[in-house]
């Protein structure tokens, strides 16, 4: 028999204390969604079940008690830290769920410049950790646009990636060890070592679990020397994405590791580079960084590769550097965007996928053409590739549409989900992955079996084994 909301709240208060349980109705309503339903948030129209409470544990032991309580009583929990998710992963899909918010677990436990690693609790903002390690002349190398607001636990839980990924890798390449709390209250710690071959690498059970298997309470990440004085920016305009993908491929195949390697299509380039790019121009850009010799060799190598493509026209590096310095979100940008949406009902959404070099341009071209033809009220359909690998790259579809004739609560059904559907279909058809770095959340969970194919067996077994009662973030990764 399920507990009443009052009994749930009472149980939570016994574990973390009354001051660490939030039942304010406004907080609960806002906690029922993430940025997937940002239009509903902006217009204050809420349709998801309201959680019973937000619990703010102070340590892993309290998290363990909370999860034990949830397991014993069949209460759904949603792990959360910074709350910057974009794919519905933080939505409360079932009534009377509990948000376990790790943002009070915000201690930087150690910064170890000799062993080049830092350990922190899940609620440490990435920006705070980055600021701390910079005092030692180091960097985490992780810089998603959400850096000022995202927390370490959530970044690991969603397999985040940053703007410098081509050099430093995604978060999965940075995490050397972690601590996680599983349903029933088991606290598991994976030690911090340079590498291991003692069976499967179980870090990857935890990294990217999106709160559907466990709560990440602590992480240890690699550190890198920080040489901003050597940052070198390079940029070109060109007329088609196929050439841009080809250049990115050549750079990667030849072994260069620029921290930033991107190609923007004309629509997306128009949002950032209209002061130097023509309306039909794509923009190709790179940043080389690291020790002086490495940065120079990287920049020289890229220059030599692009020089072989006369269809690319080089632009002054200041264009790229200035753009780059203004890239991250901050609170004022988020507020301004919300106000623009409120006034214009013009909404910006993104969907990111990955595929091999042989498929990526087809996916981009086909999905774009279909969206323009099939979805009404689209005002911009574009995208860019921003994370490349030796065997392929990502495509970050960036699109805007006017919300016409429906309320904010119907925006996802009329526009957003159909667009996601087209992108997922075209990606899966060509063997790509439907999620590059935002996480599955609940938005793309309906495609999980197509994404995993026969390996879905492994995912399903993990879910059943670690979360037999189905209390961990129901509906995320695996749909209800």
């Amino acid at each position: 028999m399920s507990l009443s909301r009052e009994a749930i709240v009472e149980g939570l208060r016994r574990i973390v204390g009354p001051d660490a349980v939030v039942t304010d109705e406004r907080v609960l309503v806002e906690s029922s969604v993430d940025n997937f339903r940002k239009l509903q948030n902006i217009f204050d129209v809420h349709t998801m079940p309201v959680p019973a409470a937000v619990a703010l544990p102070g340590d892993a032991a309290q998290v363990a008690e909370l999860l034990r309580f949830a397991s014993d009583n069949g209460v759904a929990v949603i792990p959360r830290t910074g709350g910057t998710a974009t794919e519905g992963g933080l939505e409360s899909a079932v009534p009377d769920s509990v948000i376990i918010d790790g943002s009070m677990m915000n201690k930087i436990i150690s910064v170890d410049p000799y062993n080049m690693q830092a350990t922190c609790q899940c609620g440490v903002p990435l920006q705070a950790l980055e600021d701390r390690v910079r005092e030692h002349g180091l960097t985490t190398g992780h810089s998603p646009q959400s850096k000022p607001v995202a927390h370490m636990g959530g970044l690991v839980a969603t397999r985040s990636i940053g703007q410098f990924s081509t050099l430093y890798g995604g978060i999965e390449d940075m995490v050397v060890g972690l601590e996680a709390v599983f349903p029933g209250g088991e606290i598991a710690r994976i030690k911090n070592v340079p590498r291991r071959a003692a069976g499967p690498d179980i870090r990857h059970v935890v990294i990217g679990n999106e709160g559907a298997l466990c709560f990440i309470s602590e992480v240890t990440v690699k550190l890198f020397p920080y040489f901003p004085e050597n940052n070198t920016f390079l940029g070109w305009t060109l007329k088609d994405m196929a050439t841009g993908f080809a250049v990115l491929r050549e750079v990667m195949v030849n072994g260069y590791k620029p921290s930033v390697a991107r190609v923007y299509d004309p629509g997306d380039a128009g949002l950032h580079f209209s002061h130097f790019a023509a309306e039909d121009d794509c923009v190709l850009l790179f940043m080389a960084e690291g020790a002086a010799g490495i940065a120079k060799a990287t920049a020289d190598g890229i220059q030599a590769i692009v020089d072989k493509h006369p269809e690319c026209t080089q632009v002054p590096s200041e264009y790229i550097e200035t753009w780059f310095n203004d890239l991250c979100w901050d609170a004022s940008k988020i507020t301004a965007e919300d106000e623009r949406i409120r006034q214009t009902r013009n909404v910006n959404r993104t969907t990111e996928i990955s595929a091999d070099w042989g498929s990526i341009n087809d996916i981009y071209q086909t999905a774009k053409a279909r969206i323009i033809a099939e979805i009404p009220d689209v005002t911009m359909m574009g995208g860019h590739s921003s994370h490349s690998y030796i065997n392929g790259t990502n495509m970050y579809f960036n699109y805007f549409f006017n919300v016409v004739g429906v309320g904010p609560e119907e925006e996802t059904e009329k526009y957003y989900l159909p667009i996601i559907g087209i992108i997922c279909e075209e990606t899966l058809r060509r063997g790509g992955s439907i999620v590059h770095h935002h996480g599955m959340g609940k938005a793309r969970a309906p495609w999980v079996k197509d994404e995993y194919g026969s390996s879905y067996y492994i995912l399903e077994t993990l879910k059943k084994s670690f979360d037999p009662d189905g209390i961990m973030n129901p509906g995320t990764i695996i749909p209800l």
Partner: protein, 289 residues
């Protein structure tokens, strides 16, 4: 009046918030030798080539208010024609094409051939010339735009055109007999006036401040509509002469440090931090009140 002709003059401005610190202090250099070249080599203020262009905040509001006025008049069965122009080079084209897609019938730019930062007299002469060339019963302008703006351009334009001018306009609605009901901000607060045309309205801190966005289909439908370009000479304006008459010239820029001293209040929990904030920083001050 069954037909109202509205002309909006708007400014395309560098996104100053994205400017690198080093690019602020370039006055005295020939900083305008980029896409928006200054043949006269007049000091052009900060180095702004490397940041994107945006609509001035009040100019954007003026453009949207004109569309809303058109829509409101249409509901009464009244016709409205819209034209927009900017004193700018090709950098304004993408904005002008957006306006054509939104239903502005005519779009034009006035090419100054010189940098006009800190030159309100020359700017006003070109704006007045552009407005006269496009005709119109109502000229809408933004009150001011960005760092270095004097805020006097709308007054100078109105004077040059011999039209009355209302400033700090926040709302415009149709009134009877072709007149307009205009809300503007005065020292005492908001004021509503019935205004006859022709007139100049300078838009201020309007509640409606953001321009709607055309669909890709709208853009496709107006793709062939031209953006007309006028030179200063076409408008009978001698920019060099106007610049020479400017009463003030930019001679230097320096960054003002607006940093404020601060401390980070520590504590294990929000309650601890609140307590520390109160005990250490607030209590004594509050007791003195």
């Amino acid at each position: 009046m069954d037909q109202l002709r509205i002309v909006v003059g708007f400014k395309v401005t560098p996104d100053y918030e994205a400017l690198r610190p080093a690019d602020w202090a370039r006055a005295g250099d020939d900083a305008a030798d980029g896409p928006e070249a200054s043949p006269g080599g007049r000091p052009g203020g900060p180095e702004t080539r490397f940041v994107r262009r945006i609509l001035g905040v009040f100019d954007e509001a003026a453009l949207e208010l004109a569309l809303r006025l058109r829509d409101a008049r249409a509901e009464r069965g009244l016709q409205t024609s819209l034209a927009a122009f900017s004193v700018a080079g090709r950098v304004a084209d993408s904005f002008l094409k957006t306006l054509l897609a939104l239903g502005y019938e005519r779009a034009a730019r006035v090419e100054a051939g010189a940098a006009l930062d800190f030159a309100p007299g020359a700017t006003a002469a070109l704006v007045a010339g552009g407005a006269q060339r496009l005709g119109g019963d109502v000229l809408l302008l933004g009150s001011r735009c960005g760092p270095g703006d004097s805020g006097v351009v709308p007054f100078l334009v109105a004077e040059a055109l011999g039209r009355p001018c209302l400033t700090q306009v926040t709302e415009i609605a149709p009134a009877d007999r072709g007149r307009l009901r205009v809300t503007f901000t005065a020292d005492a607060g908001p004021v509503r006036a019935i205004v006859s045309t022709p007139c100049v309205l300078a838009v201020g801190n309007a509640v409606v401040s953001m321009l709607r966005v055309p669909t890709l289909k709208d853009r496709l439908a107006t793709r062939e509509q031209p953006v007309v370009a006028f030179s200063a000479a076409d408008l009978g304006v001698d920019v060099t002469e106007e610049l020479d008459r400017e009463p003030a010239a930019l001679v230097g820029l320096e960054t003002i440090d607006r940093g404020r001293a601060g401390v980070i209040v520590g504590g294990a929990t929000p309650a601890d931090k609140a307590r520390a904030l109160y005990e250490t920083h607030l209590r004594a001050r509050l007791e003195r009140l």
